[in-house]
């Protein structure tokens, strides 16, 4: 089948402002949008720039807007979209070149929530694992799936308004540790997410949940964090 692929283009070394280029290419239903971008880069315009690595939805490099919605180009097939496809960079982060955005504000926010396991108590005397029941483990399972692709954060109107807002991805990370029975820094993290640029900026737009390519129930996780900051209980 023939598809029309319209791509946002911006080369800061040449262009004063962005524009769109449209390519007509042969594609199969099962082709990934990433395959189409690779084809354009290989045979139509080598300067087209985008990030990609694993090509099957686990590394999080190629999040972009496809027909207006945040998706991974490698996890979206032509058959999901149809033959008129528009590809644009994520919103809310500065476009560096074509589909590549500046990820630094995103990772800076991630780093704000103490995104690492904290437990300074002595290890079990036998040196073995800290015990955790399957139920305790299941409590934060969904939020361990995050691949930091930024699809959620850059779909959030609050983040568009201010990149000082931690954004959904950072909050999911906070959730992953706060609800881990082994972690000991929950109170500290709850304090951090309760700051002005944290949970208060979430207005439950649900965009993040819709955008997540890992199907993490992000709004639910944020809701659980809000509840925990109100009640002081982690359940």
């Amino acid at each position: 089948m023939q598809v029309t692929l319209k791509i946002f283009r911006y080369n800061p070394e040449v262009d004063k402002q962005f524009h769109y280029e449209t390519y007509t290419i042969e594609a199969e239903e099962n082709d990934r949008i990433l395959d189409l971008l690779e084809h354009v880069k290989g045979y139509k315009d080598g300067t087209l720039s985008f990030r990609r690595s694993c090509a099957h939805g686990v590394c999080g490099s190629d999040a972009m807007r496809i027909n207006g919605r945040n998706m991974l180009a490698c996890k979206t097939l032509v058959r999901d979209i149809g033959d008129r496809i528009t590809v644009e960079p994520l919103l809310g982060l500065k476009v560096v070149k074509d589909l590549i955005v500046d990820m630094e504000p995103f990772f800076d926010n991630y780093k704000k929530v103490l995104p690492y396991f904290i437990n300074d108590s002595p290890l079990p005397a036998d040196g073995r694992e800290r015990l955790q029941s399957p139920e305790q483990r299941a409590r934060f399972d969904e939020s361990t799936k995050c691949i930091l692709c930024a699809a959620c954060t850059t779909s959030c109107p609050s983040f568009w308004a201010s990149d000082q807002y931690y954004g959904p991805a950072a909050l999911v990370t906070a959730h992953r540790f706060i609800f881990d029975s082994r972690d000991e820094a929950a109170a500290e993290r709850l304090h951090i997410v309760a700051e002005t640029d944290g949970l208060a900026r979430c207005h439950t737009a649900y965009n993040c949940t819709m955008a997540c390519p890992r199907e993490i129930p992000i709004t639910k996780a944020i809701g659980e964090l809000k509840l925990a900051t109100l009640t002081g209980k982690i359940e």
Binding site: V14, G46, C54, H56, P115, G127
Partner: protein, 597 residues
């Protein structure tokens, strides 16, 4: 010469091995970790099924069994001292990950859950043993996340999206690396006492692969160009179960949970090839079995794929026939919900890419290029060794998939890769920091960037008569067809001629993007150059080894030949040609015997 950085230790690559090396090196030395990706994009994150250690959380297990299984899995080409070292560190390595917060799945008692995996057995009964510690089917993702998080906690210095292009040698010692910062196109010199390569494998030289775009053999190619050898490059693993045509990995954990392979006649076939462990034989054995079924006309609809079936009714039927039991002795059964809970990503991949729901439908699969057993030769401390006497190259280390210790020999067991990168990443980091403490900085050469610059210059000024994508596509096809699962002299000679032709054509590739900012075209062309270098070595070493062993299957030499070939290959590039030498295999406890599963 604006951008010069100085660190005691520089780690190249930020997957599991690089992060572990960075974490450990930074405790004793000023360390930087440089990666062409953001660290969490590294390919370790794609590993699914588990990391092996004889924790014995469900049933009896011992590091000695793990050692023997790995030796046998390697088809006796693995160095037994190194294997023993790895398996003896395995339990502590996995526990350390848990202590770092890794969210392993749990047993009812709250311990780390484990599942069976190919080639891992109870040595007394010969039956599969639950040795693979797992976090659903995203164990690699959890390792990568956890290690990156611990690096942040410990304030490791990262240079994200910097591509290392060259390795600097001064007075026969490591002196640093040169890298390009992708965001600006500027070259940076990292002056260092010790350099650790953790750059991953080169599966992208094959047409159907589970490997990321980033897997272009950069580290191995850089060292090859600097005159260092590579070891056992003929050994490449084809994983039995990749999604048909796409090559996306379907974890062996599917078979660990009871899934079986079904041919076009609707029959299970692994019992013919591996009567004891059947579908859980080691990967080379299963991949060859699938190919044999296909070649004998028993692919699905006469095509080159078979089915992997994890539908509960199928699993339960064969589990009953095999007499498989739960740890408490009750018959093993599974429900659709349990399949979904244990293998959520696999179910997701099949739904997205195939429109197939594995709970109710079979998955079309074919073997996929998966893992680089060969690589940069090292000893068990991660020190790079450069000849048949294992002479250490001062200040140079390698770990993870880019390295060849060799613990995987001719065929790697599933889950041993994650163990490898944690164990040897750690030791490479420790050794490098220790070395840096007593070593001085070598004086940098006058124009340290010259080598890197000239490589880019060639790609910017060539005639432009050739298209890089065509070359890449043709390379992958010839490697998959002729230097793939089955190999013959005729096919490999043709492949080598083709590679030579492609190398010539590559000289005419000109990058059209003349910019500096995120010039990914330039980067991709440079990576293609690496793939051509590596493919040449792989094909030459494969042609040279006149026997079949592990992942290297010769149709014209179908038997293993310990008399002549129980030895490692070392390969150098000299004047554009591959030069080969050998080094002995370390055998301690286990004399080679016939390998039956």
């Amino acid at each position: 010469m604006a951008n010069i950085h100085q660190f005691d230790v520089v780690v190249v690559g930020a997957g599991g091995a690089g992060l572990m090396a960075g974490l450990y090196a930074s405790r004793g030395a000023k360390t930087a970790v440089i990666s062409k990706l953001y660290p969490t994009r590294s390919h370790t994150g794609a590993a699914q099924g588990g990391i092996s250690a004889a924790l014995g959380n469900y049933e009896e297990d011992k590091p000695e069994w793990h050692t023997y299984d790995t030796v046998k899995g390697s088809d006796y080409l693995g160095d037994q001292d190194a294997i023993e070292f790895m398996t003896s560190e395995a339990i502590d390595a996995v526990l350390e990950l848990e202590h770092m917060g890794l969210p392993f799945d749990r047993t009812p008692e709250g311990r780390i859950s484990q599942r069976p995996f190919g080639g891992h057995t109870n040595n007394e009964t010969g039956k599969p043993v639950r040795r693979a510690a797992h976090a659903a089917d995203r164990t690699g993702h959890m390792i990568l996340q956890t290690l990156y998080q611990q690096c942040l906690k410990n304030k490791v210095n990262f240079f994200d999206e910097y591509q290392v292009l060259d390795f600097l040698i001064v007075n026969g010692k490591a002196a640093g690396v040169v890298a390009v910062e992708l965001a600006t196109g500027e070259l940076h010199t990292f002056h260092a006492k010790a350099v650790i390569f953790a750059t991953g494998g080169h599966g992208r030289i094959f047409e159907v692969t589970s490997n990321a775009y980033a897997y272009t053999g950069d580290g191995a190619a850089i060292l090859l160009r600097r005159g260092l050898p590579l070891e056992d490059m003929e050994f490449f693993q084809f994983h039995p179960t990749g999604i048909y045509k796409l090559g996306i990995l379907i974890t062996e954990g599917v078979r660990g949970e009871g899934g079986v392979l079904i041919n076009g006649e609707g029959r299970r076939f692994m019992e013919k090839y591996a009567p004891t462990v059947k579908d859980l034989a080691s990967r080379d054995v299963v991949s060859r079995a699938i190919y044999t079924e296909i070649r004998e006309g028993r692919g699905v609809n006469g095509r080159n794929y078979v089915y992997l079936d994890v539908r509960p009714e199928t699993v339960n039927k064969y589990a009953a026939m095999d007499g498989r039991t739960n740890p408490d002795g009750s018959p093993y059964t599974i429900t659709g919900e349990q399949v979904l809970a244990k293998l959520p990503d696999i179910i997701d991949f099949c739904r997205v890419y195939l429109g197939v729901d594995p709970i109710t439908q079979m998955m079309p699969i074919q073997p996929t290029a998966h893992y680089t057993m060969g690589g940069i030769p090292t000893n068990k401390y991660g020190e790079v060794v450069i000849d048949s006497e294992n002479t250490v190259f001062p200040g140079l280390y390698a770990a993870g998939e880019c390295a060849c210790v060799s613990v995987h020999g001719a065929n790697r067991l599933g889950t041993n890769s994650l163990l490898d990168l944690v164990v040897f990443g750690k030791h490479a980091g420790l050794k490098a920091a220790e070395y840096a403490k007593q070593a001085d900085f070598e004086k940098l050469p006058n124009d340290a960037e010259a080598g890197a610059r000239s490589q880019f210059e060639a790609l910017r000024t060539a005639s432009g008569k050739q298209n890089a994508f065509d070359i890449s596509t043709e390379l992958k096809k010839v490697m998959f067809d002729d230097v793939g699962i089955y190999r013959s002299e005729k096919g490999m000679k043709e492949a080598i001629n083709k590679i030579r032709e492609l190398q010539e054509r590559f000289k005419h590739v000109r990058v059209t993007d003349t910019g500096r900012i995120f010039n990914t075209e330039l980067l991709n062309a440079w990576e293609l150059g690496n793939m051509l270098e590596i493919a040449d070595v792989v094909a030459e070493c494969a042609l040279n080894r006149k026997e079949s062993r592990g992942g290297h299957s010769r149709e014209d030499y179908s038997e293993r030949d310990d008399q002549n070939w129980l030895k490692h290959t070392l390969a150098w590039k000299k004047d554009g040609r591959v030069k080969i030498d050998y080094k002995p295999v370390v055998i301690t406890k286990y004399q080679p015997k016939k390998r039956v599963y």
